[in-house]
Amino acid sequence: MHNNKVPHDIIIEILLKLPAKSLLRFKGVCKSWRSLIEDSRFINLRHDRCKSDINSHKFLMSCKKEDHCYYYSVDAPLQHDSVVSLVDPPNVVSGINYDQLSGVCFSSRNSMLLLIFPYDEVVFVRTIMIIVQEIQNKTCLA
């Protein structure tokens, strides 16, 4: 590279290979990175590529204790050392009272989020990029 700027198409190729957490941080690198990372074409392209990579898939699970619902994200190819993270509720649909949810299921293959409410209400949502905050990491032990 030697003092030359890296061409934009190469930057895109590299950014497409980064996890969501890095991308959210790197929006703060400069204006052009911010517009690229927020661009829906970039998000869709990244999603299409991640889809075929089994190692980037995750489960989203919910667990109700008393009146509070806890959410966990788990690496999808479930192994003895899969990481389980306690996460904030998926912040993708406004106006939903997450405490009323009786279950949630997420398929990272096609980004469908299934929200199940008591009795007869079921909501399917397609999300482009699920962003959940990792609160705590735990490793499953077999």
Binding site: I10, E13, I14, L18, R25, G28, C30, R34
Partner: protein, 159 residues
């Protein structure tokens, strides 16, 4: 055999089976434009040697699965990207110019792996990017996802 010439006037002979992994050169050969030496004005000899090393190793990639050489190739790839940051970008630029898809994927993945846990400051320095965001804009990006800026893995060192 196909002859390639780097921008510092060094010539290299490469087997056709190896060199056609470059879409650009493959097209030149198909169009009959590769009869003598192919000049590569964007690539220096040091980088070209690395690229040819890769092409020669991956010459029979299709057959690797049958002969059980996959692990060997994987190990070669791991060793191959074990190079300096500047050198890695020279190879990426060459792979992009020559249109060698697999080499581009390999090197961009290595660059992404090295950048993944870096701080914003370190990324700017590594890629020679000038920050043109205002302080307010920067703060807004942090406020949107403060957790993305926190964590024991975040590394502020450059390299």
């Amino acid at each position: 055999m196909v002859k390639l010439k780097s921008n510092d006037d060094k010539e290299f002979e490469v087997e056709e089976a190896a060199v056609i992994q470059s879409e650009m050169i493959k097209n030149m050969i198909e169009d009959g434009c590769a009869t003598s030496v192919i000049p590569l004005p964007n690539i220096d000899s040091k980088t070209l040697i690395k690229v040819i090393e890769y092409l020669n190793k991956h010459i029979n990639m299709g057959k690797a699965a049958e002969t059980g050489e996959e692990d060997d190739l994987k190990e070669f790839d791991e060793q191959f990207v074990n190079m300096g940051w500047e050198e890695l970008f020279d190879v990426i630029m060459a792979a992009n110019y020559l249109n060698i898809h697999e080499l581009m994927e390999l090197c961009c993945q290595s660059a992404a792996d090295r950048l993944k846990n870096k701080s914003v400051r370190a990324v700017r320095e590594m890629l020679k990017i000038t920050n043109d965001l205002t302080e307010e804009e920067e703060q807004e990006i942090i406020n949107d996802a403060p957790w993305a800026f926190e964590g024991p893995e975040i590394d502020d060192t450059v390299n």
